[in-house]
């Protein structure tokens, strides 16, 4: 396999992993449901996106790459809808967001 592709792939994978890490840390550190939903819908999805991209570049056929890439929008749609549903439910139940002014923990 082409070294360049391998390097590219590795880089993409590492970036993806970093996003995952961030997502997890966010999940643990963020103060309330709403904020945690942010990490889920953004960091983790991005992490997955990069990983998929990293794997897709080293796929041995175009179709395989397409199949990998197909997964990402599916996950995106799912997580957007789920986070919307959960946020909406939380709002309906009157769970107020924890509001800070910029540097609260």
């Amino acid at each position: 396999m082409n070294v360049a592709i391998e390097l590219l792939s590795a880089a993409l994978l590492l970036v993806g992993a970093t996003f995952y890490l961030a997502g997890t840390v966010g999940l643990l550190r963020f103060p309330d449901v709403y904020a945690r939903l942010h990490t889920l819908t953004k960091a983790d999805n991005l992490g997955l996106g990069f990983i998929i991209l990293g794997l897709a570049v080293q796929a041995d056929s175009l179709m395989m790459a397409c199949k990998l890439l197909l997964i990402w929008p599916l996950v995106l749609m799912a997580s957007a809808t789920v986070s919307y549903s959960i946020a909406r439910r939380a709002d309906e139940m009157g769970i107020a967001p924890i509001s800070g002014d910029g540097d609260s923990a």
Partner: protein, 307 residues
């Protein structure tokens, strides 16, 4: 690296299983169970059993979670909200002890096991040419041991019957679930894709992991999703048509078995026809199994009014 991965995976599996059992909070238990299902899917993948990983992913992610979460809603209205009776410490210890002994026993048994003297996989390989398919799992499931599968389908149908038998008398009509635009859009986009994927899995079963059960699970999940989005009414009672759908796959399978029986032996396919017959059976099973799996959700759902 693999060793660390596997050890970690097993540890997490055990831990999530234990949490799921030991927690006094029902929702927590269900969440842990869903986690357990996903980890199980990973474990099957690691064990080189992608067929089961596929089934576990479809069932665990799509159906079991939804069913359990829906059941929580019902149990909330009848039982103490979100709590389980505390298990006495003594019983816990006993369970732990038994499990440990069993685990040690299993380890010893496996460690001292001689190599099997019968090599079934090689026999399967030797007979693949007559099986009508090229994927060994499918050959075993629908040809060599198709009889097991026939009975298993009966078990699934029976599970639904059992559920119907328990379900108390239901209202004549179900209250309409309001359509949520965001959710509905997701369903409208995803469901055709799910159908496509289900067909793909059915097709794939012939030569690689996939098949009727996995396809049916995906279809059933599509049904659940449509229902949750308000696009599909809950089923009030199994009417004539639905009953036909629920049992069609089984009846087809059984009829073929009976026809083949008059020709010789139960489920002995003529090698020329084997591939086509298996595909036919699998298609029927996909339909019925998906209705059965979806029925587990749709026939129970919407009875007590959506919160």
């Amino acid at each position: 690296m693999s060793l660390i991965f596997d050890t970690l995976l097993v540890a997490t599996l055990l831990w999530s299983a234990w949490r799921s059992l030991a927690t006094s909070d029902l929702v927590h238990a269900v969440v842990m169970f869903i986690v357990f299902g996903l980890l199980m899917s990973l474990a099957w993948a690691r064990l080189g059993a992608p067929d089961i990983a596929l089934a576990e992913a479809a069932i665990g992610a799509g159906l079991t979670g939804a069913l359990l979460l829906d059941a929580l809603r019902v149990s909330n209205q009848t039982a103490q909200p979100g709590s389980l009776a505390k298990i006495p410490a003594l019983q816990r210890m006993a369970v732990l002890l038994i499990s440990t002994v069993l685990a040690i026993g299993l380890i010893i048994a496996v460690l001292y096991a001689p190599l099997p003297s019968i090599q079934l996989p090689s026999m399967v390989e030797a007979n693949m040419a007559q099986s009508g398919v090229t994927h060994t799992v499918t050959a075993v499931l629908l040809n060599f041991r198709g009889y097991d599968t026939l009975l298993e389908v009966a078990v699934l149908l029976l599970a639904l019957l059992g559920m119907l038998a328990v379900a108390p008398a239901r209202p004549v009509s179900v209250s309409h679930v309001p359509i949520d635009p965001v959710l509905a859009t997701l369903a409208r986009l995803l469901v055709p894709l799910m159908i496509l994927t289900a067909c793909y899995l059915l097709w794939a079963g012939d030569h690689r992991p996939g098949g009727a059960f996995q396809a049916a699970a995906v279809l059933a999940a599509a049904g659940v999703l449509l229902h949750l989005a308000g696009l599909l009414q809950a089923w009030i009672r199994p009417g004539q048509l639905l009953r036909l759908g629920l049992s069609a796959g089984f009846v087809l399978f059984l009829s073929l078995a009976a026809i083949l029986l008059t020709e010789g032996a139960l489920l002995r396919y003529p090698p020329v026809w084997a591939g086509a017959l298996i595909l036919l059976i699998e298609a029927g099973l996909t339909l019925s199994l998906s209705l059965i799996l979806a029925g587990l959700f749709l026939l129970l759902s919407g009875r007590r009014g959506v919160p």
